[in-house]
């Protein structure tokens, strides 16, 4: 596995080693030649007409990978899915980003893609399916909606012909994220699934797994209305006192946020793919072994999580067989 930078004691090292080996043995059976680096030859059956897809090229009659990653085969299509690269957006992905610039009718968001993503004011939301009127007032109010350094979650709408990316936030669930932590993990750890928004009810916490590897852990908000009301003025008026009341987040909530965030950190360091169930399991583990929040990043907990995961996967594997 990749070099974990953890100060491990002798026993811990052995335990971790064992857990990782176990994991490896479980995954290796599936496809032994799965991962390739650049210029690795991908073994294919040449009699059978194969189809070379993304991340591959033909070099002296051999099929050669052009990126590091995992070989995927679908029927006769062979392509390489890159790992550890920057985020490669697909339309419909839910991403979390940070506003880096407020400009004319649009915000620029950093989303770990090679270019900044653009969130147009016009694709903010369409209450009623009616297009947001592009008025001067609206433009002036843009900063009232998102400012620089705000964390925003949105959906990938489309690509421009030049490769830049457009986002949209045309639904109530998208929008500004407040009172929480933003974690950055490797994008490949977040798999596309049906649900990227999770409300962890037992903690009262919202978890947004951005496909770009930005993960948001924050206090649960009922409906993010404040940003979508058309009338910035009136809403602001009503918002101001509300906000003042709400700035205080209880300590317990903060602790919960930290605990979940640390669970995510642990998982990402270990390189496990991140989903809500796994995070919850890790959090539970941490509370059952009564480990302090700040100790969660320690090596002992890492080892524990790795062992636990190895056990779980072997169980799942057995059940499948």
């Amino acid at each position: 596995m990749r070099g974990l930078q953890l100060p491990l004691s002798q026993t811990q090292r052995i335990r971790l080693q064992r857990a990782l080996e176990k994991l490896q043995s479980l995954s290796c059976k599936a496809n032994s030649d799965a991962s390739v680096t650049v210029a690795d030859t991908i073994p294919v059956n040449y009699e059978d007409a194969f189809l070379k897809g993304h991340g591959t090229t033909d070099l002296n009659g051999d099929l050669v990978a052009t990126v590091c990653g995992v070989v995927e085969r679908i029927n006769k299509l062979v392509y390489v899915r890159a790992l550890r690269a920057r985020y490669k957006p697909e339309v419909g992905d839910i991403v979390v980003g940070r506003v880096v610039e407020v400009s004319q009718k649009r915000w620029r968001l950093e989303i770990n893609f090679s270019l900044d993503a653009i969130l147009m004011l016009s694709s903010m939301n369409m209450p009623d399916g009616i297009q947001r009127r592009r008025t001067a007032l609206d433009e002036l109010n843009m900063r009232g909606i998102f400012e620089e350094n705000d964390v925003v979650c949105a959906e990938v709408r489309n690509f421009q012909h030049d490769g830049s990316l457009q986002l949209q936030a045309r639904s109530q669930k998208y929008g500004k994220l407040e009172k929480g932590q933003l974690l950055i993990v490797d994008p490949y750890l977040v798999k596309k699934s049906k649900q990227h928004f999770h409300h962890l009810e037992q903690f009262g916490i919202d978890l947004v797994l951005g496909r770009n590897g930005f993960i948001w852990v924050g206090e649960h908000v009922e409906a993010r209305d404040s940003m979508v009301v058309d009338q910035a003025n009136s809403s602001e008026q009503s918002m101001v006192p509300e906000e003042k009341n709400k700035t205080h987040t209880p300590l317990e909530m903060r602790q919960n946020i930290c605990r979940i965030a640390n669970a995510v950190r642990v998982l990402s360091t270990l390189g496990f793919s991140i989903d809500a169930d796994l995070i919850l399991e890790t959090v539970e583990l941490s509370s059952t072994v009564k480990i302090d929040i700040h100790d969660m990043l320690g090596s002992e907990f890492h080892v524990l999580v790795a062992e636990r995961e190895a056990e779980r996967r072997s169980l799942v594997g057995k059940r499948k067989r």
């Binding site: 299509l77 392509y79 339309v91 016009s122 008025t135 709408r157 045309r170 209305d225 008026q237």
Partner: protein, 1341 residues
């Protein structure tokens, strides 16, 4: 310096700005006058103002900007009445014009290593700012492509959308979260009160986070009482004043109290109408000579009121609103004073209505006959869109209509055209497209959809089309909410229903208008042996005409028996036939006089030559004469031009060829045709110009004869259509295609036959089809009447058939909704629209869904019912369990009894004297009785004597009795049922042998006989053996003659006493015969059931409820609870998605998609699914599999495209193409794939047979043709290769180009460049010459 008006006389007006109804104060400056004194310098300055102090300045500012006061002028009472009848909130929503700052300050980006370190604190970079002209930024933005609309490279994407786009949210989805949120102030009237009373001043300027602190502002005392009556002239009596005064405050309060929750529009409506109503009231009471305007206003206000009320009621019932709008036509010009487009003719009523609703921005459904003028509505929508600077989309079912409409509208509007193969001016404000294009635009979320205001669906009845009808439904479901819909349809019986569906799906009211009137009335005739018999005129059937025709037929047939062939040209034809023949040459001569002597000779030559030909084929010869006769007749009656509908391409061709000898055109017309044809065909390449079809049709055209069917080359078809529209074609042989859409009316329409082949079988023409085709008769403005003729050759059709087809109701609009993989995949891509939603909204589900609210209410009511709980005295209530067992036991016992009673063994026991228990009306209270006489035959009833429960009067109705006795009897019964088995043995002794039979056995007793004996009432009646509940093991002695013959009371009382004795043994009934032991039943099932039953009884007795005294009560309760629960469950099922008709199929399809890896376990669309989304033209699964199996890899581009033709070609039976070995190998491979997929689908229980599936979706008929074409063979040569008509070849190849494009995109998704290139070159290879010749409609001739 000029003296300024003193502050106390400061005048200003109050305006509203922004959304929230903020006050804006505009000072009104007094006019400057050219006064010489003013120009004089002021030497002495009198202190015009008091000296200014900070306080006074603040005071002044406050006075000026913060304390609104009404401007006397702007809010004068004279204006007040009118001031309020605009829509407040619509006004308030009008956006401000974007005020573009000329320059703005922007931070300057510096590369990190260039940033100067020393200037900043803690290493934080503080960017410098520069002033930048705004336009620079915008232009820069454009070139960077981050402006969505200006992205020049993807111009096509704007219109067509891209697969990467997200679809728009369809309208009518009732998702709460997306509903428009009105600020609190808007819905409770706060805003207006603020305006009226002066609310708290706003201290925060828009766009700022913090505002200016002005300290506590004092409230402004201004209140706004406007007295309406002042608007009246001066002669108002003072006495009226108080009662007429209306306070606006109250007005609004009232309005809001009425409908706080109603939507914005309704709100304003109500305000408006109320205001109007008030005004009208005022005007009326004051009786100030009513002007025209007042009248209109009053009428309108009333109507609005009425309409609103009606709407309120109807909203619950129907989304489709029809009728109630007769007044529109009368006052049309007042209601729509400023029409978006003027029509040169007076509009029809339904057109006026439709236009009025369009102006109001409502959706409209217009149902009218062909040529009634539906297009006017479409045109008006176009005009409105142009006026509003939005867009309108017109969709037509077939490409020909789109092309023709494009040409029609071209001159009038800014029109663009989008079909599968052409894309013309896609940026135009009015777009014409096929429905499929619109669908893909919706799925792809094309940006242009934002701008669309109107979508016009022409020929909506096409929704009935089996293959493509689903597209309409999909589109209607997918349309976003801001789009208004116009539906144009032929008259169908269930317009309202369909409109209602649309309205419900879109949550919009649909106005239904239309007409059944034809602008040109029709006259239906039969044509038989040269005569026309009128059978129907203006919807009235004329039986006499038919009779006359029948008489003629009879006459002819009877004479024909003497040796005639029966055909027209028979030797002994009736006189009119002979006359007709005589007339023929005469007429020819006459015609040729018209056409001039030159053609005469020409004509005769060909004519005779042809006739000799006709002699060869006898049937065609006779047909030919019929045609000639018909044409002759029509031309004599000047009923030309005529469209003759046949129902097959071949027939049309042959008919046309058979009369090619005839010449119907004048020389000037001939030259016109020639010039036109030359021009049109000049765009073809040399060899194509001499294609046999082109030459043949051209020759026909010169004579005024046309052919029109799908087998024609598109260009030829268009030439025919256009020439027909010019009126130079006199006779047009056509198939049904001509009836659809193409607006080319004729004077007369002829039906060759009233039977057609619909792909499966010959069937009579449907009324709807007949109407559609007959609608081509009668040109508006040219003809007074349109003639429809039905040809009769061999026999006269029956009256009922004719009546049905002519006056019958057309086919209903029915849903052809079906799930396709592509639809599922598209919908899975989108999170907010689920497939279930789509299913729910389909027209097929409409009726079920319509009932949902009621059911929902029912369910709520059911759920809200207080839950009855059973209070068990023994603590833990086990009654549910007990009840379960109880019901089960009952079921079993019933089963057993049924079997027992029908068995022959039972019959042996059912002899006179046998004690039985008979079912009575009430379930619990069964009657003890004794069999008096058993029937000789098996199915005759027994005669039994029954003990009636002791009831005081015998006249009581059975139901009453049972009610009275219910409880008691039930108790007993329970005891009986639960009788433990062990007790049964005790009463064995009661078996008494049958009494000796005396007497004759005659029955003197009248049945039913009722009486009383031993204090108990009894009844003697007949009973079926199914009525017996059980046969008891005891018998009693009977005095049968005494009972039945003499009806002696002692005999009865004796019997009754005996029975009562049985009863008195503690139980109500004596023990029953054991089915196993006594009756010796051997049936396995029965024994099993019996065992179960006894087992259950035992278990029940173990249950602690068994002994409970409240058992009966509780059982009843449990029954109720159970029933309630079942009802609730059933309702919940109805309401759930599982109740949808297509749900099982949907699940199956989802499973298949999972199985072959298009979606994963969590229904996330995978790469294969994304590729499949692109496949619109062929079967998506086969195409995708073909791609992923790389079947095109070893093929050359030409071969690949040839193979792909199998996806798009549609004709079934063709000549077998001869293929190269490589191609046939590839063909086999593709076929195998399809079979495999078919097998898979069959496995998942979809109604598919693999072979059929493969043959349905892969038609290899044109593989060779396309291969040759792609290799560059001229068109004339490839036509030789197959028997497929030229038109179909062209159509297939055009569609193939589309497929190539889709495969290209798929290759890009897969990341395979070689396939991409291959498809590109394939597409180039087929794009040439006649196949891709541009439409005449588009380019013009």
């Amino acid at each position: 310096m000029k003296p300024i008006q003193a502050a106390n006389g400061f005048s200003f007006r109050v305006g509203f700005s922004g959304y929230s109804g903020h006050l804006r104060v505009e000072p009104l400056y007094t006019e400057e006058r050219d006064n010489p004194i003013k120009s004089l310098p002021d030497f002495v300055l009198p202190p015009a103002f008091p000296t200014e102090t900070p306080e006074s300045i603040e005071e002044h500012i406050k006075e000026k900007y913060l304390l609104p006061r009404l401007d006397e002028d702007a809010f004068s009472p004279e204006k007040a009445g009118k001031q309020w009848d605009f829509d407040w909130f619509a006004r308030a929503k009008i956006p401000l014009e974007p005020s573009m700052p000329r320059a703005i300050m922007v931070p300057v980006w510096e590369l990190p290593f260039r940033r100067c370190k020393e200037g900043s604190t803690e290493g934080k970079w503080e960017p410098n700012s520069t002033q930048v002209d705004v336009s620079d930024i915008i232009v820069g933005g454009e070139t960077r492509g981050s402006f969505p609309r200006a992205s020049n490279g993807a111009a096509n994407d704007i219109v067509r959308g891209s697969i990467n786009n997200r679809p728009f949210r369809p309208g009518g989805l009732e998702d709460q979260s997306l509903e428009r949120i009105f600020p609190y102030g808007a819905s409770n009237g706060e805003w207006v009160r603020e305006v009226l009373n002066g609310g708290p001043a706003q201290t925060i300027p828009p766009g700022f986070k913090q505002g200016l602190k002005l300290g506590d502002l004092m409230s402004h005392p201004c209140s706004w009482n406007v007295y309406k009556d002042q608007s009246a002239p001066d002669d108002t009596s003072v006495g009226n004043l108080s009662e007429l005064s209306v306070q606006f405050d109250d007005l609004f309060k009232k309005a809001w109290e009425e409908d706080v929750v109603e939507l914005d529009k309704d709100e304003s409506d109500s305000v408006k109408s109320e205001a109007e109503a008030n005004q009208v009231d005022v005007l009326n009471t004051l009786d100030t000579g009513s002007s025209a305007l007042d009248e209109i206003l009053s009428v309108e206000a009333e109507k609005v009121d009425n309409g609103r009320d009606k709407g309120g009621q109807q909203q619950k019932e129907a989304w489709a609103v029809s009728g109630g709008s007769e007044w529109i036509a009368d006052q049309f010009y007042e209601l729509v004073p400023d029409m978006a487009i003027e029509f040169p003719f007076e509009l029809d009523t339904f057109q006026k209505e439709a236009i009025y609703y369009l102006e109001k921005g409502e959706s409209v459904f217009v149902a009218a006959h062909t040529s009634a003028g539906k297009t006017v509505v479409a045109e008006y929508a176009f005009a409105l869109a142009s006026k509003h600077c939005t867009r309108a989309v017109y969709t037509a079912p077939i490409k020909t209509i789109s092309n023709q409409k494009y040409r029609d509208f071209c001159g009038k509007f800014d029109v663009g055209l989008l079909t599968g193969d052409v894309s013309l001016r896609p940026e135009a404000s009015c777009l014409i497209m096929t429905t499929e294009i619109l669908r893909s635009m919706l799925y792809r979320g094309a940006d242009i959809i934002r701008d669309i205001e109107w979508v016009i669906f022409d020929e909506v009845h096409y929704v009935n089309d089996v293959e493509r009808g689903v597209v309409w439904e999909e589109v209607i479901i997918m349309l976003p909410r801001h789009i208004n819909i116009i539906l144009l349809s032929a008259t169908v019986p269930n317009t309202i229903e369909f409109a209602d569906w649309i309205g419900r799906t879109k949550q919009k009211k649909i106005r239904v208008t239309g007409t059944t009137k034809r602008p040109v009335p029709l006259e239906h005739c039969l044509f038989y042996s040269g005569e026309l018999y009128k059978i129907c005129e203006r919807e009235d059937f004329i039986p006499q005409g038919l009779k006359a025709a029948k008489d003629a037929y009879k006459k002819k047939n009877s004479s024909a028996t003497s040796g005639g062939t029966g055909s027209y040209s028979g030797s002994s034809t009736v006189q009119d036939g002979a006359r007709g023949q005589k007339r023929e040459p005469f007429n020819r001569g006459k015609q040729n006089k018209h056409s001039g002597p030159q053609t005469f000779g020409n004509y005769t030559g060909t004519g005779w030559g042809n006739q000799s030909n006709g002699g060869g084929q006898n049937s065609w010869g006779s047909r030919r004469t019929t045609w000639l006769m018909l044409i002759d007749k029509l031309s004599k009656k000047s009923l030309l031009p005529v469209v003759i509908f046949g129902f097959s391409k071949n027939q049309c061709d042959k008919s046309a060829d058979s009369i090619s000898g005839t010449d119907l055109t004048s020389s000037s017309e001939k030259s016109e045709i020639r010039v036109f044809c030359d021009k049109a065909f000049s765009r073809l390449k040399g060899s194509d110009r001499n294609l046999p079809q082109v030459v043949r049709v051209q020759n026909l055209l010169y004579r005024g004869i046309g052919v029109h069917h799908a087998g024609l080359l598109p260009i030829v078809k268009e030439v025919v259509e256009m020439l027909f529209c010019r009126g130079v074609i006199k006779v047009l042989f056509s198939t049904e295609t001509f009836a659809m859409g193409v607006n080319a009316p004729a004077r007369t329409v002829v039906f060759d036959t009233l039977r057609k082949f619909d792909g499966k079988e010959f069937r009579p023409v449907l009324p709807g089809e007949y109407t559609q085709m007959a609608g081509r008769a009668g040109r508006r403005g040219l003809d007074k009447i349109g003639t429809v003729i039905v040809m009769c050759r061999d026999e006269i059709p029956e009256e009922s058939d004719l009546k049905h087809v002519i006056t019958g109701t057309p086919t209903k609009l029915e849903s052809q909704f079906r799930l396709t993989y592509i639809m599922i995949l598209h919908l899975l891509r989108v999170e907010e629209l689920k497939v279930e939603d789509m299913l729910k909204r389909s027209f097929a589900e409409f009726h079920a869904q319509k009932k949902l609210p009621e059911q929902q209410q029912l369910l709520l009511r059911k759920l809200a019912q207080p839950k009855k709980t059973i209070e068990c005295i023994k603590g833990e209530p086990a009654i549910e369990e007990y009840y379960e067992m109880h019901t089960e036991a009952e079921e079993h016992s019933e089963q057993i009894i049924k079997a027992v009673m029908q068995s022959s063994v039972a019959k042996q026991y059912l002899t006179p004297g046998r004690v039985v228990v008979v079912k009575s009306q009430s379930a619990q209270d069964h009657l003890l009785g004794v069999v008096l006489k058993s029937p000789p035959a098996n199915n005759k009833p027994y005669i039994v004597l029954l003990l009636k429960p002791d009831v005081p009067s015998m006249t009581q109705s059975p139901s009453d009795r049972s009610n009275l006795q219910d409880k008691k009897g039930a108790d007993f019964h329970q005891g009986y049922v639960l009788l433990p088995k062990s007790k049964r043995g005790l009463e064995e002794d009661y078996r008494i042998s049958a009494g000796p039979r005396k007497g004759s056995g005659i029955i003197n007793i009248t049945l039913p006989h009722r009486g009383a004996a031993a204090g108990v009432t009894f009844e003697v009646r007949e009973a079926e053996n199914t009525e017996f509940l059980c046969i008891c093991n005891s018998k009693i002695k009977l005095d049968l003659p005494g009972l039945l013959e003499f009806v002696s009371n002692p005999a009865f009382s004796h019997t009754v006493q005996q029975l009562l004795k049985l009863k008195s043994n503690g139980n109500k009934y004596p023990p029953a015969l054991d089915p196993l032991k006594d009756l010796k039943l051997k049936d396995m099932d029965l024994i099993k059931a019996y065992d179960k039953w006894t087992h259950l009884l035992q278990k029940m007795s173990e249950n602690k409820c068994h002994e409970c005294i409240k058992l009966e009560e509780h059982i009843k309760l449990a029954k109720e609870i159970k029933k309630h629960k079942e009802e609730v469950n059933a309702l919940q099922f109805e309401l759930s998605n599982e109740a949808l008709q297509q749900m099982p199929e949907f699940q199956g399809r989802i499973d298949i998609l999972k199985e072959i890896g298009y979606i994963d376990e969590d229904l996330v669309v995978q790469i294969k699914g994304r590729v499949a989304c692109e496949m619109n033209s062929g079967e998506e699964l086969i195409c995708t599999e073909c791609l992923f199996e790389n079947q095109l890899d070893d093929l050359e581009p030409e071969e690949a495209v040839a193979l792909m033709s199998a996806f798009v070609f549609q004709q079934k039976n063709t000549s077998e193409p001869s293929l190269t070995s490589k191609l046939s190998q590839a063909k086999q491979r593709l076929y195998d794939t399809a079979i495999r997929l078919g097998n898979l689908q069959a496995e998942f229980k979809l109604p598919i047979t693999p072979e059929e599936y493969a043959q349905e979706n892969l038609k290899f008929g044109l593989v060779e043709v396309v291969y040759e074409w792609a290799k560059g063979t001229p068109f004339a040569d490839i036509c030789e290769l197959t028997d497929v008509p030229e038109g179909l070849i062209v159509r297939t190849i055009v569609r193939l180009d589309e497929t190539c494009r889709e495969f290209k995109t798929a290759a890009a998704i897969m990341g395979n460049s070689s396939l991409y290139k291959k498809m590109e070159s394939a597409s180039n290879a087929i794009k040439r010459d006649i196949v891709f010749a541009a439409s005449l409609y588009i380019t013009g001739v």
